[in-house]
């Protein structure tokens, strides 16, 4: 049996330790970014408008829908159209650049693409509201 001198064994070990060979990761990590919907709730007066400002961190799509609309003090859904819009805060309001007239529904009603920046979600009465109404808008953006 060949007897290796200790320094040869030690040198071999240390040389192996010096290597820079990358090794494959044992596990694959997948990062998923979850975007939570923003809920904008409030009371919309007859002929009135309300807006909510939000910041978009990177270019991406925005989807929105009017989740509910009820007369103040009532629970029944008010099936009349109001205007949902997206724009940029300006003056004391929201300068809307895209909009849709919609009644409450649990489907996407407004879709657009936004670059990074500050925007606003706007809701306004287009003349169909019989009285002040409580609304809820849900929207998702990047």
């Amino acid at each position: 049996m060949t007897r290796w001198p200790p320094f040869v064994l030690l040198a071999s070990l240390l040389m192996a330790a010096c290597g820079d060979s990358p090794t494959a990761p044992d596990d694959t990590v997948t990062t998923t970014t979850t975007v939570s919907p923003t809920v904008f709730e409030g009371t919309l007066d007859v002929k009135g408008a309300r807006f909510y400002s939000f910041s978009v961190s990177q270019s991406g799509s925005l989807t929105a829908h009017l989740a509910s609309l009820t007369l103040v003090g009532h629970r029944e859904v008010l099936a009349v159209p109001v205007r949902l819009g997206v724009g940029v805060p300006k003056g004391e309001g929201c300068a809307v650049t895209e909009f849709v007239d919609a009644s409450p529904a649990l489907v996407t009603q407004l879709t657009t693409t936004l670059a990074a920046g500050i925007y606003c979600m706007n809701i306004s009465d287009i003349g169909a509201l019989p009285d002040a109404a409580v609304f809820s808008i849900r929207f998702l953006h990047s």
Binding site: P5, P6, F7, A11, L14, R50, S53, S55, P89, K90
Partner: protein, 148 residues
Amino acid sequence: MRVHILIALIAALALSVSCGDETPTSPTDTSTSTTTTTAAAPTVSEEFSSVVPVGGSKFYSFTTSTYGTINLTLASVGGSLVPSTVMLGLGLGQPSGTECVTTSTVNTAAGSAVQLTGAYNAGVYCARVFDIGNLFAPASFNVTIAYP
């Protein structure tokens, strides 16, 4: 046997040294580049006129096109039971939610000199006027907003 151990120790020491990170060297040339961006002067002026309720606030949004100076001036305050010298809060920030989230504020009476100023990147900003506890009745006001 002792010779082997000695040689092994020397070899280990030598290899350990060779395992170290590369020795940094001094740069042969040094060049420093400093870029100074000058804030653009205001070129646009808007008037924000409204009424602030007791204990409340009002805000006004605007968009600047380039890095530059934003000036806010509470030009006048008035209304029934509201002395023109009353101090109000004046703030500058960015719209968020249903509010204007201010990053800079000052308590001031109306005057002709700029009361709040600063250099800001291009973007959407808001001027906010708010009662700091001095009002007993709603106050009408006028704020001049100047920006690039």
